[in-house]
């Protein structure tokens, strides 16, 4: 079925080859004896760019002077499809790719895996991989390596909330008892809002049915009905009689202005806001039971890279306490390695949030949840 190549693919392939030829040609002379340059492609927001460009890569090239790093930013993942097509085109033409390391979404890793685009990571290649919890590696079939993570947690203001809710049921009861003092962002606009919505869905429908690559069956979504009824019932108790701000940041601002006293926020954003004094000191973060969802950010090594030795060196270094500490300091992320490899001070800092988190629903179920939230909760029917 895959043998007939659509013409658009061929054109893309030709264009990518031309681009690669241009890049190789341009880098040809003069690059002979100088250090090896690794092209590091990073998907993310500006804070992640700063993490790589200002912190991780300078530290890495200082420790390993035989390498240099060329940082290629892909803001919010723009251009990711192009990068995947480029790597695929190079592979199909039996040419090397200039992408030596790629931080990207699991969906691109999954798309490229059947074509053999990625190196399967083992502890022989990367000794420090033993420090990563194996289930995290299994999530992408060892084709990518988590180096930082975050989850959605509950932020509460101790000035107004004396006994914070510890469970989802406590939280739901608190919302009803304190109308106007809680909200979550529109699930279309941020993961923190999605996590609250998904947690209520998981309360009524077993999450195993919608996660981990379970087959898609729209009929299974009928089990979500009580969740929509419950969320709809909460609307009058939301901030401003049912107002959901756009985006994760807007929720943090409502917390900062003390318009709401409890809200779901991303662990890394919340910690960062607290560190920078953008949230009152009385705001604390905690994970509830059952936990809200979270995820890891992973890096992948393209098999067609000509500098795989350098890539493996960088991957191995990323899992050292030195690099992991940088991740925690600059973006307040969770470490990619198991918490037990982190110093006690770090474990102390994250004690209230460093707990297991729920998995994201599979993309089709997730898309339907967001649509149904709009139809059944916001849209009022």
């Amino acid at each position: 079925m895959m043998s007939r190549k659509p013409p658009i693919r061929a054109v893309c392939a030709a264009l990518s080859l031309a681009l690669i030829a241009f890049v190789i040609g341009a880098a040809g002379p003069g690059a002979a004896q100088s250090p090896i340059t690794l092209n590091v492609y990073i998907n993310g927001d500006t804070n992640i760019f700063d993490l790589w460009n200002k912190t991780l890569l300078p530290a890495f090239t200082k420790r390993y002077p035989q390498y240099r790093a060329n940082f290629v930013p892909l803001l919010h993942g723009n251009g990711s499809q192009g990068v995947l097509d480029k790597i695929l085109a190079a592979k199909q033409a039996n040419k090397p790719t200039d992408v030596d390391l790629w931080e990207t979404d699991p969906t691109y890793v999954t798309q490229g895996a059947p074509n053999g685009l990625w190196v399967k990571l083992t502890t022989q290649l990367i000794p420090n991989l033993t420090r990563v919890p194996p289930d995290k590696l299994r999530a992408t079939d060892y084709y990518s390596m988590p180096y930082r993570g975050s989850s959605v947690v509950i932020a509460y203001n101790t000035a107004f909330v004396k006994t914070p809710p510890r469970t989802l049921d406590d939280l739901l009861a608190w919302i009803k008892a304190n109308p106007g003092k809680f909200t979550y962002c529109d699930p279309n606009t941020g993961g923190s809002g999605q996590a609250f919505m998904v947690a209520v869905v998981y309360k009524f429908a077993p999450m195993a049915q919608y996660t981990g690559g379970a087959p898609y069956d729209q009929a299974k979504e009928a089990a979500w009905d009580p969740a929509w009824q419950m969320l709809k019932g909460l609307e009058p108790a939301m901030y401003n009689n049912g107002f959901h701000p756009n985006g994760n940041v807007a929720v943090l601002q409502l917390l900062a202005q003390q318009n709401v006293y409890i809200a779901p926020v991303w662990s890394d954003m919340g910690t960062d806001y607290l560190k920078r004094g953008l949230l009152p000191k009385t705001v604390k973060l905690e994970q509830i039971t059952p936990p809200l969802f979270g995820g890891d950010s992973t890096v992948t090594a393209p098999a067609g890279s000509t500098h795989l030795e350098g890539t493996f060196t960088l991957l191995n270094w990323l899992l050292t306490p030195e690099a992991q500490q940088m991740v925690i300091t600059s973006v307040s992320g969770y470490p990619g390695v198991d918490w037990k490899y982190m110093p006690a001070s770090v474990r102390q800092q994250f004690a209230d949030v460093a707990k297991p988190y729920a998995p994201l629903p599979d993309s089709k179920y997730f898309a339907d949840m967001q649509r149904l939230w709009h139809e059944r909760v916001a849209g009022g029917g």
């Binding site: 756009n246 649509r371 849209g379 009022g380």
Partner: protein, 278 residues
């Protein structure tokens, strides 16, 4: 020979139009008429029935039309007097005002939207002033239809003033003077001379405003509420968030049909002017 050269010059935009607008539009229409995979017996208009059968989507369509009509009416009522003032009052202040009122034309829509949000939110300037004046209870001004209308009006006024003003400039002063000479007051002059002579620019302004506001995305996305939403936002959500391409395309075709009714009015008024021109 000149014909060939002329055709060669219009060829690039024509190709862009054909390959980037017309062909994708046709393929989108075909998509909307094709039943979803797995459904064997479905009417050709099944997708339309589904979209129009979804209550939230019906609400969104009606909401979009109403918000657009209200915004167009407000822009028009605010711009016409302004255009008249700038046309007939020849003072330094009028000239200065003419420049000041053009400012929104040079402010990017994203920035205008965020400015309106900070201006209108619960702790913003407008609320603070109202509160100081003793008004403690007033409807929310942003993240709803009110916010969208106010921002669309703010952004659209210069455009409306420009087109209406250009039409007013074209009216011969002699006509107005002679109307005054035979004793017509300002209102009579306006109703009998200015309004009819400026009818075509008026129609053009109204139709272009309608289409621009109807299809806007940035303002309703940033200033609008969770529900109902304007079609631009709903279509984007269906395409990128809900992974429902067909529904999104179906809504686009419905939006296109609504806009093309207005487009016919526009073409009719423009071609009438063409014919009227010597």
């Amino acid at each position: 020979m000149r014909g060939v050269l002329g055709f060669a010059l219009v060829l690039p935009p024509l190709l862009v139009l054909v390959f980037l607008v017309i062909l994708p539009a046709i393929s989108a229409v075909i998509t909307t008429l094709t039943p979803a995979t797995g459904v064997v017996t479905a009417a050709p208009l099944a997708n339309y029935a589904e979209v129009l059968g979804t209550r939230t989507l019906r609400t969104d369509i009606v909401f979009t039309v109403i918000v657009t009509l209200v915004a167009v009416a407000m822009v028009f009522c605010l711009s016409y007097p302004l255009a008249l003032y700038l046309r007939f009052v020849r003072t330094r202040i009028a000239a200065l005002l003419g420049v000041v009122f053009m400012v929104p034309l040079f402010v990017p829509v994203v920035i205008a939207s965020f400015a309106m949000i900070t201006f209108l939110v619960g702790h913003g300037l407008v609320s603070t002033v109202l509160f100081r004046l003793g008004v403690e209870r007033f409807p929310r001004l942003v993240y709803n239809a009110t916010g969208i209308v106010l921002t669309e009006v703010w952004v659209s006024i210069p455009f409306a003033v420009l087109i209406l003003g250009a039409g007013l400039q074209a009216i011969d002063d002699a006509l107005i003077d002679s109307a005054r000479d035979v004793g017509a007051g300002p209102l009579r002059t306006f109703l009998a001379i200015i309004l009819p002579l400026n009818a075509t620019p008026t129609m053009i302004t109204l139709t272009l405003l309608f289409i621009a506001i109807f299809g806007s995305f940035t303002i309703p996305y940033l200033v609008g509420g969770n529900a109902p939403q304007m079609l631009g936002v709903t279509m984007t959500n269906y395409l990128t968030q809900y992974l429902r391409r067909t529904e999104s395309a179906t809504m686009a075709v419905i939006a296109f049909i609504i806009a093309s009714v207005i487009g016919i009015v526009y073409v009719a008024s423009v071609s009438r002017r063409e014919r009227a021109a010597p």
